[in-house]
């Protein structure tokens, strides 16, 4: 039935080929135009699992306490001391400039120059205090001396001033929406403004500007992603050479490349149509689409050549090739698509986007490379001689076909088994999340990470903050019981390795109470009477972010030493343990907000998604193979090598110190989805021959002769396409590049080594 349908389609397409090609051209022009409108896009919320319980907490309290999207600008005086007029002028300028950049929450810009930066001191008759920078401040040695003593009284060293007085901080929270336009904040434009209006303008020999925060990181990542254009050209160039070596024909080199580029432009055009931008992470998809397109084209060229060699006209040969490849090619591409679609189950915006753009791209290849390509070829006249290389391959295939004999199979399968066990053991140690300090998307030497290290070294705060929200009842903070629970929680948590410091209303109230008692540290307590407690808490404004208006919500800020997976896991475990013991009906410690809260949620979402994703990918591939081969044995022969290779890829991640993260999670799905192609191509020939009664070894030999070079070539093309990412300025692209290259190459080896060995066992011939 299927065959009839394919034949019908073939005769329709080839009879109407001019018309069909015309349609393709029109679509290409339209989608190409759409593709030209594509914009880079990197929104904060896309990177987080919005439905995770932590993120529900985050979203619920984001408005009141600011979210995780903050920016820190450290202005450093390279002389080592900030107390000079030039520095203070610059700091003031930086403060003002940041204040006026659209998207900054102006109420939350904090630095020495913000009016809320005040000091308090105890004098005989109570408190005295004022802004750290007095209203009559002049940039003179006397004025600076006053500021210096105020800084010490204000207790801002380590927060707004570097511990060694070599730098000062300007902090800001970002809004999600531009207040002027009401549009979502353009993170990348914002990052560019930071670079232009702060760093470019104020960095001199004596002053260094260090900027960190999600927006800046996204900007740097996007800048790094621009290098991708070069890699893309490089990939096209190398691929072209390889296709030429394979086809020995300029025309047969050009057509696959053109068809694959058409696929890429369709994919990009469709992205704009569905309303997506190009994210630094999904920028890798065009490479994949291109490489997959080329590899399927190579199968097509291979088929055409074989038929031309058999004496058919180019047009007839193209029709034959179309007919024989539509089903295996279609199935292979369909399983790629389904493999990518399984990523939709992961509740992280950016992975869903990746899933959609990748599956769109691969689905498009079915049209461009399985239909358009043979139609274009049919217009050409190809003369093929028996290539010396093809003849040269014969003894190689002959030798390789021994893999399908029981003797070799035993050895191969034993080695595979050992490899699998080793890989599984390694894979079980795979870490989740970031394994390095700094922004994992960027290399350690990148400016952004250097800035992060500077700020971590010189200030006692970082962006590695996890916020635990204490949800209680109205006026809760006026009760000793409530605050002392919070205090106890904070203390026990601060004793966890990885926690650098903590702050909450409870610890601040103790400090204020000390202040009310002449600054005597012996009064560093939470007063038992509500009247005294109110006095202490009342001095803490809601703008401090330590309480809401009726103090029913009080965050505990936990500053971590870093955001490595281990650190987050350890702190999370402690928090969970504590909440289990301390949460009551009236007082709940809730995870989590702050940048590390977001990371924790992401790590948990990624960890939770891993198993289902694998099940879905393998399930989809399994069903598709079962449908196309109608044989459980054949299906297993395709899937077992894939599974071994996925496990080895995870072992490689452990070995290379690559954590399972938003960027690496999809790799396995992509690798499996694409890796299955090899097996499908080889086995589709083998299955036919086996059914004809051929021995396993002969069937495998036939398959190698027909598809072998194409499969090897496909593996190499795909690997080349993604291996250019090794040189990316972005760490995660490099990681993805390494893993995909590994998956593509080793899956190819799996299909020509493990698959025949399995076949030899599954279709054992009675002697």
């Amino acid at each position: 039935m299927l065959e009839k349908w394919v034949n019908g389609l073939e005769s329709f397409l080839f009879r109407q080929r001019a018309f069909v090609i015309g349609v393709f051209i029109i679509i290409t022009v339209c989608l190409g135009y759409q593709a030209s409108l594509l914009k880079m896009d990197a929104a904060f919320v896309k990177n987080i699992p919005l439905n995770h319980p932590y993120m529900q907490t985050y979203l619920k309290h984001q408005k009141q306490f600011g979210g995780a999207n903050s920016i820190m600008v450290a202005v450093e005086d390279t002389s080592g001391s900030i107390f000079n007029p030039a520095f203070f002028d610059t700091l003031k300028n930086v403060h003002d400039q940041l204040f006026f950049i659209p998207g900054v929450d102006r109420a939350q810009v904090k630095s020495l120059f913000s009016p809320s930066t005040r000091f308090t001191e105890v004098v005989e008759d109570g408190f005295a205090g004022g802004p750290v920078i007095p209203a009559d401040f002049t940039v003179t040695p006397e004025g600076l001396a006053v500021v210096r003593s105020n800084i010490e009284k204000a207790g801002i060293v380590g927060r707004l001033i570097a511990q060694d007085y070599s730098a000062a901080m300007v902090k800001a929270q970002l809004l999600d929406f531009d207040p002027q336009t009401g549009e979502p904040l353009d993170t990348l434009a914002f990052a560019a403004q930071l670079e232009q209006q702060l760093r470019k303008q104020y960095e001199t020999d004596g002053i260094k500007i260090h900027i960190i925060g999600f927006a800046k990181m996204a900007g740097d990542v996007a800048d790094g992603a621009k290098g991708v254009v070069l890699f893309f050209l490089l990939a096209i160039f190398i691929t072209a050479i390889m296709v030429y070596l394979f086809s020995r024909s300029l025309l047969l080199t050009l057509l696959p490349l053109v068809c694959s580029l058409v696929a890429v432009s369709w994919q990009l055009g469709l992205l704009t149509l569905v309303g997506f931008g190009l994210d630094p992470m999904s920028i890798l998809i065009p490479f994949l689409v291109f490489a997959i397109g080329v590899s399927h084209s190579v199968q097509m060229i291979n088929g055409v050549k074989r038929h031309v060699l058999a004496g058919h006209s180019t047009k007839a040969a193209a029709a034959f090739a179309f007919r024989s490849l539509l089903i295996p090619g279609g199935i292979a591409l369909l399983s790629d698509t389904v493999g990518f679609l399984t990523l939709l189950t992961i509740d992280i915006g950016i992975i869903r986007e990746l899933a959609i753009s990748a599956s769109l791209g691969v689905a498009v290849i079915i049209l461009t490379n399985l239909i358009l390509l043979p139609l274009l070829i049919s217009y050409t006249h190809i003369r093929v001689k028996v290539q010396p290389s093809a003849v040269a391959m014969i003894p190689v295939w002959r030798r390789l076909s021994r893999f399908a004999t029981p003797k070799y199979a035993v050895v191969i399968l034993s080695v595979t088994g050992v490899l699998y066990l080793w890989g599984a053991q390694q894979a079980s140690q795979m870490k989740i999340g970031d394994l390095n300090a700094g922004a994992s998307a960027l290399h350690q030497g990148a400016r952004y990470n250097q800035d992060t290290f500077f700020i971590t070294d010189h200030f006692s705060i970082t962006t590695d903050v996890m916020t635990i929200i204490v949800e209680a009842f109205p006026e809760a903070c006026t009760y000793h019981d409530t605050l002392s629970q919070v205090d106890e929680f904070e203390w026990l948590l601060s004793n966890t390795v990885g926690v650098e410091s903590t702050v909450s209303l409870a610890s601040v109230a103790k400090r204020v109470n000390t202040g009310f008692n002449e600054g005597n540290p012996k009064w560093h307590i939470l007063p038992r009477t509500t009247a005294s407690l109110v006095q202490a808490v009342g001095r803490v404004p809601t703008t401090s972010g330590l309480l809401n208006r009726d103090c029913s919500v009080m965050p505990v800020y936990v500053f971590l030493t870093d955001h490595k997976a281990d650190t987050i896991e350890r702190v999370l475990a402690k928090v969970k343990q504590l909440t289990l013991e301390m949460n009551t009906d009236k007082l709940r410690f809730t995870l989590a907000s702050g940048p590390v809260g977001v990371m924790a949620a992401t790590n948990e979402a990624v960890a939770a998604a891993q198993l289902p994703m694998m099940l879905y990918v393998y399930g989809a591939v399994f069903i598709l193979c079962l449908i196309s081969f109608r044989s459980l044995k054949a299906t297993l022969a395709v899937i077992i090598p894939l599974y071994v290779v996925s496990t080895l890829a995870q072992a490689l991640m452990t070995y290379l110190g690559i954590g399972l993260a938003v960027s690496t999670l999809p790799v396995i799905a992509l690798g499996v989805g694409i890796g299955v192609d090899y097996g499908i191509y080889i086995l589709s020939t083998m299955a036919v021959r086996l059914r004809e009664g051929m021995s396993v070894q002969d069937a495998y030999y036939e398959a190698l002769v027909e598809r072998g070079s194409a499969v090897v070539f496909t593996g190499l093309t795909l690997a080349v396409g993604v291996s250019t990412w090794f040189f990316s300025a972005l760490k995660f692209q490099m990681d993805m590049g390494i893993l995909l290259t590994f998956m593509f190459l080793v899956n190819m080896l799996g299909a020509i080594i493990i698959l025949p060995a399995l076949a030899a066992v599954f279709w054992r011939q009675p002697k």
Partner: protein, 345 residues
Amino acid sequence: MWLSILRYRLLAILCLLCVQHPLVAEDFERTETNNFFNDPIQPLASQALVLDIVSMQETAIAVGERGHIFSFKEQWQQVHSPTQALLTKVFLLTPSLGWAVGHDATILHTQNAGQSWQSQMQSSRIEKPFLDVLFFDEQHGVAVGAYGLFYRTHNGGRSWESEYHQELLFDEDIAYLEELKNEDMTFYLSERSTLLPHFNRIIALSDARLLMVGELGLVAVSHDLGQHWHKKKLTYEGSFFNAIEAGNAVYVMGLRGHLFKSSDLSTWQAIDLPIEATINGVMALKDHGIRIVGNAGVIIDVDLDDKSRLVQQRQGESVVAIAELSNGERWIAGNKGLARLTENQ
């Protein structure tokens, strides 16, 4: 043989019981984790607020936040404490007998050089902290604190009785209280309990007199182990937090760098300090000067000629106490916990 069979039977029955009552096992597990996570012995305890260090011969004890108590054995080691209240002061009568006091009117006692502690008094109802404790012998001692808190024991602390030292009230307050007494007894009692100044420190002088300093410029002397007090007049009316007798003179010190010296407890001479920071702690130096420590991390030496010198200023720290241990090491305590002063400091 049958015995071992019986034992197995018993085990089997026990196992059955466990299975039938999963709650038993669960409860047990729960307490286990509780103990682990709410263990008062925490790694950072010695870096949290520590308010006092005392040293006598081989014994050294420090106390601080959340009832933390530390004993020095080559290193500071946290020991179990019967309270979670902030402990403000610790006193050693002998190297093994000691008392510690703190918030929630807490008094703790040790008989083994600080290895274990028993609570002698604790009442969150009193809502006033003890700020110092002094024992004259094994049986007799006093504990003093905020708002004129004054307790005395005659039996080594097994029972404590409150005393009210009306003689330390201000004249105008005495008149005010007399007036109230006739009008409203309840209000009178409540006012009476808060009108006395904080008693911040009480020390025994070499001539067996007692000296007590406190809030609102309080400096008082007693000839009868604290039964009756006589106020001394100084030019300063801010709080005094500490006092010491060293080199034939008595020093009192307190808020915003105020330090006074007297040889007869009648005439007091102000000593200028390089920094106007509140002074919390003091120790006598071997050459008969004193070293004082305080807020803003100041450590200041004052020699016999009343010349003062800033030895060190520790950023972001409030130093509350300083002591020299028997091994010659000098340790300070404060909001950053315990820290050792190195030799050139």
